[in-house]
C-alpha cells in the first residue's frame, strides 16, 4: 500500500471515529426518528470535529502535543452526554411530504454523487496549497501541533501579522487535532476532511428540507445544486475556512429556524453548538451571529415572542469565544481595516469608497449573471414562508455586510472585493439553498 493511501486511510479513520462519537453525542441534540437521521449524521460530524479541535486546544493549553488520548476521552464524554442527557422531544410531527419519483430520485442522487466525486478529485489531487492555507490556517495548525502549544508569537510578533492573529483558531486547532490523533501532520491526506464537510452539508440540507416539508425532489435538487457548486467546492478553497463556514452557517440557520418555530426541544442546544462553531471558525461567523441577534431584536420589537433561551443560545457561545480569544491572546490589530474611516470627520470619503466597492462587486455580478438570475428566479417563484424568509434574510444581511466592509479596507475596497467577495459569498450557498428550498417545497 502506498504511503499516501495509508495516510488517507489513517485520517479517514480519525474522522470516522470522531463522527461516530459525535453521532452518539448528537442523540442529545435531535429527537428520535427517521426524519432526523440524515441531520443526525451531519451534526455528528460537526460535533466530532469540534471534539478534535477542543482536544487540541486542551492539549496545547497544558503544554502537551495534541495526541490520541484527549480526543478519545472527549469522545467518551460526548457519548456519555448523549446517553445521559434527556433526549429531545418533537413538538410537532415532522412535515415530510411525498418522496420523489424513482427516476427523478435516481438522477438527482447521481448528480449529488458526481458533485462529491469531483470534489474528492479536486481536494485530493495534491497537498493543500492555497495561499491562505499556507499563510494562515495550515501554518497555525502545524505550529500548534508541532509545538504542543499555542505560541504567543502568533499574536504578538509584527512579522507574523500576515497570518492574521485576529482570526479565530477553530480551523487550525482542528488541523492540529487531526494531526495529533493521526500522529503526523500530512497536509495531503488531511484534505479528505473537505469532502467529509461537503457530504455533511448535503445531509444537513437534505434532511432539514425534508423534515420541514420540502418534497423529496426539491430537497434532493437543492443538495445536487450545492454538491455541484464548484465555486464553493473548488480545489483552491480546500484548506481554507469557507467550506467549514458554509457548513456551520447552514447548521446555524436551520437550528435557529427550528428553535423559533419550536419544532423540537433540542433546537436550542443545536443553536448553541452551531453558534460556537461559527464563532470559532471565522470573523464572518461572528457577523452571522450578530445579524441573527439583530433580526431577533427586530422581530421582538414588532411584537413577536422570541424565547430568551434562543437569543442566549445564539449569543453566548460567540461572546465566550470572543472574550476567551481577547483574554488569552490580547487584542491583535485588524491590520487590513481602517476603522478611523468611520469617524464623522471622514464620512465625506465614504460614498466614493462605497462606489468603488459596489463597482468591483458589479463586475463580479456581471460575470456571474446566469447564476444570479437563476437564484433570483428561484426566490421569486417561492412562496412566502417565514422559516425560509428568515434564512434568506440572514444570507442577504451577510451579503450586505460583505459589500460594505470593503469600504474600510486599507488596501482599497476594490482589492478586498476582488480577492474575497466571490469566495465568501459562495459560502452562503447552502444557507441560501435551505431558504429557497423550504419556500419552494414542491
Amino acid at each position: 500500500m502506498s504511503e499516501w493511501i495509508e495516510s488517507v486511510a489513517a485520517v479517514e479513520a480519525v474522522l470516522f471515529a470522531a463522527a461516530l462519537a459525535g453521532f452518539f453525542g448528537a442523540r442529545a441534540l435531535l429527537p428520535r426518528g427517521r426524519a432526523f437521521f440524515a441531520e443526525r449524521l451531519s451534526w455528528g460530524l460537526a460535533l466530532g470535529l469540534a471534539l478534535l479541535a477542543a482536544a487540541a486546544a486542551l492539549s496545547a493549553s497544558s503544554g502537551a502535543r495534541p495526541g490520541r488520548w484527549v480526543p478519545v476521552l472527549l469522545g467518551i464524554g460526548a457519548i456519555a452526554a448523549g446517553a445521559l442527557l434527556p433526549r429531545p422531544v418533537e413538538r410537532g410531527a415532522a412535515v415530510e411530504s411525498a418522496p420523489a419519483r424513482p427516476l427523478v430520485t435516481g438522477i438527482l442522487i447521481l448528480l449529488c454523487g458526481a458533485g462529491v466525486l469531483l470534489y474528492c478529485l479536486r481536494a485530493l489531487t495534491e497537498p493543500m496549497w492555497s495561499n491562505d492555507y499556507v499563510a494562515i490556517w495550515g501554518f497555525k495548525g502545524k505550529t500548534i501541533w508541532a509545538e504542543g502549544a499555542i505560541p504567543e508569537r502568533l499574536f504578538s510578533w509584527p512579522s507574523l501579522a500576515y497570518a492574521h492573529p485576529e482570526y479565530p483558531l477553530g480551523l487550525p486547532l482542528l488541523y492540529a487535532g487531526i494531526a495529533g490523533a493521526r500522529g503526523a501532520f500530512d497536509d495531503h491526506a488531511m484534505a479528505v476532511l473537505f469532502p467529509y464537510l461537503q457530504i455533511a452539508t448535503l445531509l444537513a440540507l437534505y434532511g432539514w428540507l425534508r423534515r420541514r416539508g420540502a418534497s423529496g425532489a426539491t430537497a434532493l435538487a437543492a443538495a445536487a445544486a450545492i454538491a455541484c457548486f464548484s465555486s464553493l467546492y473548488s480545489g483552491f478553497l480546500v484548506g481554507m475556512a469557507e467550506v467549514p463556514l458554509s457548513f456551520a452557517l447552514l447548521l446555524f440557520g436551520a437550528a435557529l429556524a427550528d428553535a423559533l418555530d419550536r419544532t423540537d426541544d433540542g433546537a436550542v442546544r443545536r443553536v448553541t453548538l452551531a453558534a460556537a462553531l461559527l464563532a470559532c471558525l471565522k470573523n464572518e461567523g461572528l457577523f452571522a451571529i450578530l445579524l441573527a441577534l439583530v433580526g431577533l431584536g427586530v422581530a421582538r420589537l414588532r411584537g413577536r415572542r422570541i424565547p430568551a433561551s434562543v437569543a442566549t443560545a445564539a449569543a453566548l457561545p460567540g461572546l465566550i469565544v470572543f472574550l476567551a480569544h481577547r483574554l488569552a491572546f490580547g487584542r491583535p490589530p485588524m491590520r487590513d481595516f481602517d476603522f478611523g474611516r468611520l469617524a464623522p470627520s471622514r464620512w465625506g470619503a465614504l460614498p466614493a469608497l462605497a462606489a468603488e466597492a459596489f463597482a468591483a462587486a458589479a463586475r463580479i455580478a456581471v460575470r456571474s449573471w446566469p447564476l444570479l438570475a437563476a437564484v433570483a428566479l428561484l426566490i421569486l417563484i417561492g412562496r412566502r414562508v417565514e422559516t425560509g424568509d428568515r434564512l434568506l434574510a440572514l444570507a442577504a444581511g451577510l451579503l450586505a455586510a460583505y459589500l460594505l466592509v470593503p469600504i474600510l479596507s486599507v488596501a482599497g475596497p476594490r482589492w478586498l472585493v476582488d480577492t474575497t467577495l466571490a469566495r465568501v459569498t459562495a459560502a452562503l450557498a447552502p444557507l441560501l439553498a435551505a431558504g429557497i428550498g423550504v419556500r419552494i417545497r414542491r
Binding site: W4, L118, L124, F139, P151, A221, A225, S368, V375, L377
Partner: protein, 140 residues
C-alpha cells in the same frame, strides 16, 4: 408540469451548468493522472509537484534540505534573499513550522540560523552548502 415547476427546473439546470462548467473533461483527466502518479510518491515529492510550490519549485527543495539539516531546538531561521513578505515567506514559515522564520530581515536575531537562498550577501560566507543556497556564518 406547472409553470412554477418548469421555472424551477430551468433554474436548477442553469445552476448545475454554471457549477459544473469549469470542470472540463481535460482538467478531470489531468487531475486523475496527477492523483494516480502521485499516489506512489513520498509526501515531499507530491508537495514538490503540487501548486503550492509552483511559484518557485527550487525554493521548496532548498527548504526541505534546510529542514533536514537544521539542528533540533533551532530558535529561528533567517533566510536572506527572498523578499520580506510574500509567497517565499509564507511557504518557508509553513514548511519549517514550528521554527520561526524571517525572510531578509534587517538584522539576524541572536541565536537564529542565517541562511541564504541564492549566493550569500556581502558580510556572510558559506558555512554549509544547501541546494540553491547555503547555511551562513559572518565573514570575518
Amino acid at each position: 408540469m406547472t409553470r412554477r415547476q418548469a421555472a424551477a427546473l430551468a433554474a436548477l439546470a442553469v445552476i448545475l451548468l454554471v457549477g459544473l462548467a469549469p470542470e472540463q473533461p481535460r482538467e478531470i483527466s489531468g487531475r486523475w493522472r496527477m492523483l494516480e502518479s502521485g499516489a506512489g510518491r513520498s509526501l515531499e515529492e507530491r508537495r514538490f509537484r503540487g501548486s503550492g510550490a509552483g511559484f518557485d519549485r527550487n525554493f521548496l527543495v532548498f527548504l526541505e534540505a534546510l529542514r533536514q539539516s537544521a539542528p533540533p531546538g533551532t530558535t529561528g531561521v533567517a533566510i536572506l534573499g527572498p523578499p520580506p513578505e510574500g509567497p517565499h515567506r509564507y511557504l518557508a514559515s509553513y514548511h519549517l513550522a514550528p521554527v520561526p522564520v524571517l525572510t531578509s530581515p534587517r538584522r539576524v536575531p541572536p541565536k537564529w540560523i542565517p541562511v541564504s537562498y541564492g549566493p550569500p550577501p556581502p558580510g556572510w560566507r558559506v558555512f554549509a552548502p544547501l541546494p540553491g543556497g547555503a547555511m551562513l556564518e559572518p565573514a570575518l
